[in-house]
């Protein structure tokens, strides 16, 4: 649920990066953090295990600029991808305004991608939301791997409704900002439709 602060002339939106374990959600945020002007970002918080696996969430506040005299602030969150952290994933989806599904292009992760997308759908339902009415985008990550599945095949499995999609290699940064822009645009457009 976006929050509009008329006193400070700010609009705040929450974007959640979702996807199976080790698909590159945290790497997306790390790249955004590294490449963003220090004036436009806050501190990146990572609640991770000793082995650098996300335990609860990563958090990165970003200020993108002004729209209609309002500062547009985006709070980016990742969820822990590992299957057994489902309770945490549900909590992080609370108040989500837009989502990025980070799919792992390795053939061995095909099933994990599908399971995670279904998990996103069912966890949204628990918050009274539906994926079909939430602004979200698909990112096909790890496109640099030699055995990456063809995008057409991944699209058929994961994006049959044709939401905006982006090919990416989060480690090199390719497609990372395009993905972020895609979801931010979806969120702002949805505000326009709601007309607040």
């Amino acid at each position: 649920m976006s929050f509009i602060n008329y006193a400070a002339r700010e609009i705040n939106c929450k974007i959640v990066y979702y996807g199976p374990g080790l698909c590159g959600k945290t790497t997306n945020l790390q790249y955004v953090y590294q490449k963003t002007n220090p004036d436009l970002k806050g501190k990146m918080i990572s609640l991770a295990t000793e082995t650098e696996r996300t335990l609860f969430f990563d958090f990165l506040p970003l200020a993108l600029g002004e729209i209609r005299g309002f500062k547009a602030r985006f709070h980016l969150y990742t969820v822990p991808g590992q299957v057994f952290y489902d309770a945490s994933r549900k909590l992080i989806l609370k108040g989500v305004d837009g989502a990025v599904f980070v799919a792992d292009s390795q053939p061995a992760r095909e099933e994990a991608n599908i399971e995670s997308l279904e998990n996103l759908q069912s966890n949204l339902v628990e918050h009274g939301l539906e994926l079909s009415s939430l602004p979200w985008v698909m990112q096909y990550n790890k496109r640099d791997l030699p055995d990456a599945m063809p995008v057409e095949e991944m699209r058929k499995l994961l994006n049959p409704t044709g939401v905006p999609e982006f090919s990416a290699c989060a480690t090199s940064g390719e497609g990372v900002f395009e993905t972020l822009k895609g979801v931010a645009k979806g969120v702002l457009s949805s505000l326009r439709k709601l007309g607040v």
Binding site: M1, S2, F3, I4, N5, Y6, A7, A8, I11, N12, K14, G42, K43, I45, L47, F56, F57, F59, P61, L64, G65, E66, I67, R68, F70, A72, H75, A87, S88, K90, L91, I92, K94, G95, D97, G128, L129, E130, S133, L134, P135, K181, A184, K185, L188, S189, S190, L191, R192, L194, G195, V196
Partner: protein
């Protein structure tokens, strides 16, 4: 269904500020923050300049969400308040209806009992402000009164121009 945005106006912030300024005065707390359940900072007061309050808000919301999850696992509706004791500073966090969270940061100049007592009163007053803002939100959701209804694609694209 996509959740409607929640808007707060100047008068709502002024009302929140009066409540939390009063809380600092009555308890001697170092600082007080009001955030929403998603972790966005709404207002703060006291000596909090040295702290990263954006991160504090996000982590406190995560903490409240996790504590609520624990409560439900144990058959409780929620644990509406919790306390984190440090060596010199402590945090008292309490839920303000379904929308907000009140965070009181205090040291030895205050005490948990006093903070808890005053925070309860402050939470009730804040809940009233949220309720009034909510009523106004419901009355206002109409394209005719919208600040964002006519945003063009070009304006959205301009946000991302490097």
């Amino acid at each position: 269904m996509f959740e409607s945005p929640f808007a707060m106006r100047e008068k709502d912030f002024a009302a929140i500020q009066v409540i939390i300024d009063g809380l600092v005065e009555e308890t001697g707390a170092r600082g007080v923050l009001v955030i929403d359940r998603v972790g966005q900072l709404l207002s703060r007061t006291g000596r909090m300049e040295e702290f990263d309050t954006t991160s504090l808000a996000s982590l406190a919301a995560g903490c409240v969400a996790a504590t609520g999850g624990l409560a439900r696992l144990l058959g409780e509706d929620d644990f509406p308040s919790h306390f984190h004791q440090g060596e010199s500073g402590s945090l008292y966090i309490s839920r303000v209806d379904e929308r907000g969270i009140l965070i009181v940061f205090f040291d030895r100049a205050s005490s948990l009992g006093l903070v808890r007592l005053r925070a309860r009163k402050g939470s009730a007053a804040l809940a009233h402000v949220f309720e009034e803002a909510q009523k106004e939100n419901e009355a206002r959701v109409s394209p005719d009164h919208s600040a964002f209804a006519n945003i063009t694609d070009e304006e959205i694209d301009n946000l991302f121009s490097d």
